[in-house]
Amino acid sequence: MVSNDSLSQRRVSVDLWGFLGRVSRLLVLIVMGAAVTALSPQFLTAGNLLNILRQASLIFVLAAGQTVVILAGGIDLSMDSVASLSGVIVANMLEADAPVPIAMAVGLAIGVGLGLFNGVIVTRVRLPPFVTTFGTWLLFKGITMWYNKYRVIHGFPESFRFFGKGRVGAVPVIILVAGAVLIIFYVLLRYTTFGRKVYATGANPEASRVSGLHINRILIATYAISGLMAAVAIQLYIGRLGSSLSDQGQFFAMDAIWASLLGGVSFVGGIGAIDQVVIGAIMIILLRNALNLLGVPPLWHGFFTGFVVIVAVLGERFLAARGERG
């Protein structure tokens, strides 16, 4: 009788921790939102919320690509350079009066191509992902500087800039793009065999290989996806800014990694969900917003960003450990 009681009690506590683990991210986001609202009454207006979503959209597009790579057990540090190289090529084509759809398609193709290059080196030459993408990060950066020099290109056609700065009604197009990316990645990762294979490869590459998965093809595909998303993001970015230069998108890989981390994607591989990454991306923007509202000088923003990420990951570990122990 007594043991039965304690058992049911235990189950309740297990569920509590498990539940907290599952919704903790959303709770933290709500607390952050409440804190910023308390700081500034202007925060909770439709215009500002849309603005935050708009800023988070760019990070989410990048983080979606990065998440797929991390889920499969890799990492892509080269996103910055893939983005800047594909971006300057698009800008140069547009400057030479190429049709907008063709320039955009070429830019995306270059992103995929550079991603494939990463993937082939990781799988065929068997270099660790960190070394590969670090090496190609430098390589692509060098090629970008050689190709574009110090030229600044502006005056893009409005049809190109539509995706980065246009609006449909009151909603910025970039939010719609991010929404589409979310739906596509959600379906891809949850309801397709490819998605299951990505999780399986990240969780245990050797077991996946023995089970008959072509893990090399899967890994190459993840890097291609990451390259594609970098190319998408840079087109949105230069579309919004209206100008392009060689060292654009320098923060892309880091922001994507931050968002994935805050979204609970584990570096071990095979653990994480794309809908949580959305929350991670919004958290980054909320944090920056809060620091600005608090009047923290930009010099100290990095301090709080780093601090919050470490505390967030620590908190997550704590909840996970509690859940397992129960």
């Binding site: 670090f134 430098l138 050689w146 990095g302």
Partner: protein
């Protein structure tokens, strides 16, 4: 049979046997460095001049010192992305304490390095006790320490007006630039720690298998804290040399230096998987990067080519190292 073969070698060709043994112990990367130096001496006229060689030595000092610390971290299965900003931290502490408190330069230097070691201990504690990936923690620490440096410098630079401090990087002793001695001191420290103390054994043990090391009764958490303290301390030392060379504390000085250090370690044949790592390989790796950059500049190539070539060199370095490793295991 094995004994007999060994005997035969020692009896018949004693000298060649020893030479072959010695040659087999030289990291393969050394020959790459030799070929590179010979090639550049032929192609670029200014390369093999005394002034350029001294220049090279001073340039490679910071990278070598930092690379040694990074090597220890990587051998323990970790990585430290915050080293570049920690490097800037020591110079900043020196500049700040000399300028505002008028501190003695030696005391300021010691304080700068100690601050870095403390910083590394914090990093190590979070990694060891929080059981979080070093990549994540040190990335966070990179942002935090960069912010602290920016805050101290108030977004600008602080000049260092102190002749004794300037001599650390710009002076000569017994005809050689002072950074040579600083580098040798760091090399000696790391060699002693890794080869002559249990610390070195434990670093490799932890790198091979964290759980295995725990089962062996090694206080893994304590050693991880020490490892990150050591690497941060060496980065601090490198920062002192850099600040002395530039005679200013500049927040951008160490930017991206951690990636150069990782490149040096990786080109030197150390696997990012942990459990291995050679000291001399790292030194040669750092020299290769410095020589390569110097040579490309002398050849009149631009920044873009240097960046691209470094990227390719990193990848080729790892391919070479893996190839050597595979060849070695097949041979046996």
């Amino acid at each position: 049979m094995h004994l007999g073969r060994q005997k035969g070698i020692t009896m018949e060709k004693n000298d060649t046997g020893k030479l072959a043994l010695w040659l087999s112990r030289v990291p393969p990367i050394f020959w790459v460095l030799v070929v590179l130096i010979i090639g550049l001496s032929v192609v670029a006229r200014e390369f093999a001049t005394v002034s350029n060689v001294f220049n090279l030595i001073v340039q490679s000092a910071t990278l070598t010192i930092m690379g040694l610390g990074m090597m220890v971290v990587i051998a323990s299965g970790g990585i430290d992305l915050s080293l570049g900003s920690i490097m800037t931290l020591s110079g900043t502490v020196v500049a700040f304490t000399i300028q505002t408190w008028n501190l003695n330069w030696l005391l300021a230097t010691v304080l700068g390095i100690a601050a870095c070691a403390l910083w590394g201990m914090i990093t190590g504690t979070v990694i060891a006790k929080g059981r979080i990936f070093p990549f994540i923690v040190t990335l966070g620490m990179l942002y935090i320490s960069r912010s602290v440096v920016l805050g101290i410098l108030d977004g600008g630079t602080i000049p260092i007006y102190n002749e004794s401090f300037e001599l650390i990087a710009n002076g000569f002793t017994f005809g050689l630039p002072n950074p040579v001695y600083v580098t040798l001191a760091a090399l000696l420290l790391v060699t002693l720690l890794m080869r002559r103390t249990v610390f070195g054994r434990y670093v490799y043990a932890i790198g091979s298998s964290d759980i295995g090391a725990r089962w062996l009764g090694i206080n893994v958490d304590l050693y991880k804290i020490l490892i990150y303290a050591l690497s941060a301390m060496l980065a601090g030392l490198a920062g002192i040399v850099l600040a002395s060379r530039m005679i200013t504390a500049n927040w951008i000085a160490g930017e991206g230096a951690e990636f150069d250090a990782i490149a040096a370690v990786v080109i030197g044949g150390t696997s990012l998987a942990g459990g291995s790592g050679t000291i001399m390989g790292t030194v040669f790796g750092a020299l290769i990067i410095t020589v390569l950059r110097n040579g490309l500049v002398l050849l009149g190539l631009g920044n873009e080519a240097i960046t691209a070539v470094t990227g390719i060199a990193v990848m080729i370095g790892v391919i070479l190292a893996q190839w050597m490793l595979r060849g070695g295991s097949h041979g046996k």
